[in-house]
Symmetry: C2
Subunit: 285 residues, 2 copies
DNA sequence: ACGAGACGAAAGTTGAACTTACATGTCATC
DNA sequence: GATGACATGTAAGTTCAACTTTCGTCTCGT
C-alpha cells in the first residue's frame, strides 16, 4: 500500500484542483504536494494527473482514485468528529460515598455550574470503591492514603487531609459530660468494620459498644442530628452541620485522620474532567 | 485531523487484537504502535483501548472508531488494488503510421508475443502525429529528428536512422534506365507535402511530376509492387519487399534520411510499455 | 519457580516529508 | 508585446515525526 501522506496529497489535489491549492489546504508548500503525487503515481504505476501548463486535471484513473479516496477520508474524518463530539458532550460521571456526595459536593454544585454551565454532572454514590474504568466513571472522590499506590490504571490527586470526628447532636451534651461507651453508635452493616477499626485506635473496647443500625446511609447523619447517638464522620463531611450548630464534636483523642483524593482513570481526559477535579480542590480546601 | 499513521496503527491494533500483532503486521516494533495509539487517544481525547495486564481490548469508543477506520482503509486499498490491476492488464495502445504498422511491426508481432504472451497490443495507424496523452496512447513510433525537442509531456527514445528511398517494381526497370520525371509518383493527398519536400531536396522540379493518388495508404505500397509507378518510402519500411525482390530502389541521390523514434508519455509506465519499447529497438536495429 | 510473551517508558536514531530557492510556463491586462 | 500574477517543475538542504533500542514490569502456562 502506498504512503498515506501521498494519498492525502493526491486527495487534496483532486479536491482543490491543483497542487498550490492542495498545499494551502494541507499547510504545506506546493513542492511537497507535487513530490507526493509523483511518488504515488510511480508507486501504483498509473498517471493520475495531466500537467498542462498552469493547470492540472485528473486522468480517468485519477478520477476513480479520487472518488475512492474522497469517500474514505471523508468517512474517517466524519467518524472521528462524531466520536470527539459525543465524547465532549457526554455527561460527567462521578462516583463517591453517599456522605461526600450529599454533604460536601451536592450543596456546592451550583458553584461549579456557575463556572462551567455546559457540563452535565452525574453524582453516583457507591458504597465501595469500584473499578473506574470498567464502570465507565470519569472521576472518583475517595479516602486514599497519600502514600498508598494508586489503583492500577488510575492516577491519584490528593484533595485534603481531614480528621475523623465523633459527632452528636448538641442536646446530648446538655446534661453535662458523659461516657461515650454508654451512648449508642450510629453505624451501618457496611461501615461498621471501618468504624470499629477507628474506635479501636482511639482506645475503645468495641465489643462493649451499643450500635444503632440504619437501613440507608443518608439516614445516619440525620439520625445523629436528631440526637439518636454518636456518629463517626470526617470533618469535611460534617463541617456544614458543625458550623450551623446542628452537630458538635466530642473531645475524643486518638481518632485517626484520613486523606481524601481524586482518582482519575489514566490516559487522555476531556477538559470537563479536569475542570471538575480542580473545582473539587477548592471545595475540599 | 489526527495523524494518518496513528489511525493506521490503531486500525491494525483493532484488527490484530494487540500492539505486538499490529506491529508485526505493519513491520514495526510494538513500541511504535503503542506510541501512535497513545498519541491518537490524546489527540481526540477519548480512551480507545483498555490495557489490562498482558492484553488490550477496545473500549466502546474504540470499537466505533475501528469500524469506521476498517471500512475507510479497506475501501482505499481495494480501490488502489483495482486501479493497479486494471492498469496492468490494460491493452497496450500503440500509434504509428500505416506503413510502419503494416510493413515493419505487424509482420514481426508474433516474435513479441513469444516473449510476452500476456500483453495485448492494439496497433492504431494514425496518419498524423497525435497527442499521446490526450488520446490515451501508451507509445508512438514516429519520424522524429534526433536533435528535435520532444513534444511537451513526452520523452523520445531514438530507434534508428534510415534513408528515404524511391522504390518501384523491378519490371519498370526491365527496359533499361529511364527518367524518373516521366513516371507517375504514387502518393496521397496527405503525404504529398512531405514527398514534395523530399523530392525538391533531391533536385526534382516537383511541379512537373506526374502524380497518382490512391484513396487509402495501404494501397500505395501494393500499387508500387504492381508497377504502377514510383513511391517514396523509408528503407526500414520497404526492406522486406526489397529483400524479396518485389521492389527495387532507384539510384536517386540527394534524398534525405530520417530518424525513427519511440515517443512515450512522461511519467510512470507499466512494465509492458517498456517491454514493447525495447523490443522495437531490436526490430528497427 | 521459571520462561515465554505481552505491554510500558524513555532515550537515541533515521529517513520520509518538508522547505527553500530558482527556473519555467501560461494567462490576463495594460 | 511587455509585464505581473500565479501556476507548476526540479533539486538540494533541513527537520521532526516516527521508529528502534533498551530495559522494566506484568501475566500466564508449565
Amino acid at each position: 500500500m502506498p504512503s498515506l501522506s501521498a494519498l492525502r496529497a493526491f486527495d487534496a489535489t483532486a479536491r482543490h484542483g491543483g497542487f498550490a491549492g492542495a498545499g494551502r489546504a494541507l499547510n504545506v508548500t506546493h513542492a511537497a504536494v507535487t513530490q507526493q503525487v509523483r511518488a504515488l503515481e510511480a508507486e501504483i504505476g498509473v498517471q493520475l494527473v495531466r500537467r498542462s501548463g498552469r493547470t492540472v486535471s485528473l486522468t480517468p484513473a485519477g478520477e476513480r482514485l479520487a472518488q475512492v479516496l474522497g469517500e474514505a477520508f471523508g468517512g474517517m474524518s466524519a467518524g472521528i468528529e462524531n466520536l470527539r463530539r459525543s465524547e465532549e458532550r457526554r455527561i460527567l460521571r462521578v462516583t463517591t460515598t453517599t456522605f461526600v456526595a450529599e454533604q460536601t459536593i451536592m450543596p456546592r454544585l451550583p458553584e461549579f455550574w456557575a463556572l462551567h454551565p455546559e457540563v452535565e454532572v452525574a453524582l453516583v454514590p457507591t458504597p465501595s470503591v469500584v473499578d473506574l474504568i470498567e464502570e465507565g466513571f470519569d472521576l472518583a472522590v475517595r479516602v486514599h492514603a497519600a502514600d498508598a499506590p494508586p489503583p492500577p490504571g488510575t492516577e491519584v490527586h490528593p484533595l485534603c487531609h481531614t480528621p475523623i470526628l465523633a459527632v452528636c447532636a448538641p442536646e446530648l451534651l446538655k446534661d453535662g459530660p458523659f461516657d461515650p461507651q454508654d451512648l449508642p453508635w450510629i453505624t451501618s452493616d457496611h461501615g461498621w468494620p471501618w468504624d470499629r477499626e477507628n474506635l479501636s485506635k482511639a482506645g475503645f473496647d468495641t465489643s462493649r459498644l451499643k450500635r444503632v443500625q440504619l437501613g440507608s446511609p443518608h439516614l445516619e447523619m440525620s439520625a445523629a442530628r436528631q440526637g439518636l447517638g454518636i456518629s463517626l464522620a470526617t470533618e469535611i463531611i460534617c463541617r456544614p452541620d458543625l458550623e450551623a450548630g446542628r452537630l458538635v464534636a466530642l473531645p475524643i483523642s486518638g481518632l485517626p485522620s484520613v486523606d481524601y483524593a481524586v482518582i482519575l482513570p489514566r490516559g487522555p481526559r476531556r477538559p470537563a474532567v479536569d475542570h471538575f477535579a480542580s473545582w473539587l480542590r477548592t471545595v475540599f480546601a
